[in-house]
Amino acid sequence: MLEQLLMAFINGILLGGVLALLAFGLNLIFGVVKIIHMAYGQFVMLGFYFIYYFYTAWHLPLLVAMAGGIIVMGLLGMLVQLLIINPLLDAPRLNQLLALASLIIVLENLAQVVWGADYRGIPISMPIIQFGDIFIRSSYLLAFLGAIATLGILYLFLHKTYFGLAIRSVAQDVEMARGMGINPKVIYYITLAAGGALTGVVAAFFIPIYTVHPHFGASFTLMAFVIVVFGGMGNLLGGFISAFIIGVVTSITAVLASTEVADILALVMFILMMMVRPQGILGAKA
């Protein structure tokens, strides 16, 4: 039993890393553009399909197919900015939310028309690593390490590049950033491109773990949203911490009870947080 719990804990940490990456993208977009990308999980689903398509239809090497998927998702992120977010920048928040929520329906049905409702995946067998009585799937470990490395790159991007500096300033005070000569629209495009590319990266790490279907993204949209709000909207560190909390709690609950109970518990924790501390772990008070 103890080994099982320990394994669940480790799996939770590994899962938390990927969730942290997913939540980071949603959080970044909210922090900078002040908009909730409701179809973020569906973007992961699309990224998965594109990689699958490039690999099976174009017979590209897997890594090239993954790179292609990441680039396409970055471009799609910019397209969302151009077609949906830009026209609604000054619209009431509800309109923005509805427009992006309706994107969920558009993307899911589009995927169904193009790729059908069947489960699709790229069969890759990756070894299971054993440490004493503990077994770890190397696909999970790879996803975790990759996610942490990607987060590191993002950190450097935000802190060591000029666009990172501009992104951070727009996130904090868009009027002030304008006054310093920064064009927020350019920054929004870069942010949506980065957020889109991130869904491609997450999809690439999911390839050896999951198979994809048109409704694959729904649970990830919910999960990312829960994590971001739990950690404090727009607070990148808060999202990072809460991704691991949610990852570990759901993973351990899945072992003690079942995955369904784990999902319920995650949402109950979310609701309790909203009642006790609506701004999340590290969020600023409204």
């Binding site: 501009a166 951070r168 300033s169 904090q172 005070d173 006054g179 310093m180 000569g181 064009n183």
Partner: protein
């Protein structure tokens, strides 16, 4: 250099500015004064592009700039400081100023970080801010915040500086220092300054010309002596009996 032509700005039914016109010559140091709610900050918002005028236009170096975005106007060479200094708290003092160096007029995105940071530190030296440039602007004093605000605006290499109440909240020594920085800005950097200020005795000693607004109307425009003896101006400040 800057031509304010028949600017009106209304918010709902309230006229914040009413048919105001004036010209600013290159290299001049002009005070813009008036009682609270007279439209001074609204005028700054119109010039800097934060607000679009309801009527009239702003021409700068012969081109109409009203209606352009604040970032475009910053690129053209007009910078402003804010009444309440609002540095970006998650950026260091140096980074706050680097934003202006990087993205302001003729942004220098090509240079390396050292170069940009050096430019930023030069600006911090210019305004006499002796804090660690890598510290965060959280616990800064009112005086230091004012200096950072000025350094940020000047880092964009403006030709015109719109200085909004750069003296408020300062003690006597800081008042003197801030006034000297403004004079240096005009004389050494060659920046034309339009200055909104409540601390009248300091302003009147420094500027060459004073423009007075009251209830959105321009009621006086001239040298400090004649303006301070103007009947309408005295009434605006003291009220009419």
């Amino acid at each position: 250099m800057l031509n304010i032509e028949n600017i009106s700005k209304s918010f709902g039914g309230v006229m914040a500015l009413h048919d105001v016109s004036f010209k600013i010559e290159e290299g001049s140091f002009v005070g813009l004064i008036g009682p609270n709610g007279s439209g001074k900050t609204t005028m700054f918002n119109v010039i800097s592009g934060a607000l679009k005028p309801t009527h009239g236009q702003v021409a700068y170096e012969g081109k109409t700039i009203s209606g352009q975005t604040p970032n475009a106007i910053c690129h053209a060479g007009i910078a402003r400081t804010f009444q309440i200094p609002q540095p970006i708290k998650s950026l260091t003092v140096a980074e706050n100023v680097m934003l202006g160096v990087l993205f302001g007029r003729g942004g220098k995105r090509k240079y390396q970080e050292d170069r940009i940071k050096n430019d930023a530190i030069k600006m911090l030296d210019f305004v006499g801010l002796s804090l660690d440039p890598d510290s965060y602007p959280e616990k800064m004093t009112a005086g230091d915040l004012r200096k950072l605000e000025l350094a940020r605006a000047l880092a964009t290499q403006p030709k015109i500086l719109l200085a909004d109440e750069v003296l408020s909240g300062l003690n006597k020594d800081e008042l003197k220092e801030a006034s000297e920085i403004l004079i240096k800005t005009r004389d050494e950097l060659g920046v034309t300054i339009i200055w909104v200020e409540h601390i009248m005795h300091v302003l009147m000693k420094l500027v060459e010309r004073v423009i007075v607004l009251n209830h959105g109307l321009l009621i006086a425009d001239g040298d400090p002596d004649s303006v301070s003896n103007d009947k309408q101006v005295v009434e605006a400040y003291l009220g009419v009996e």
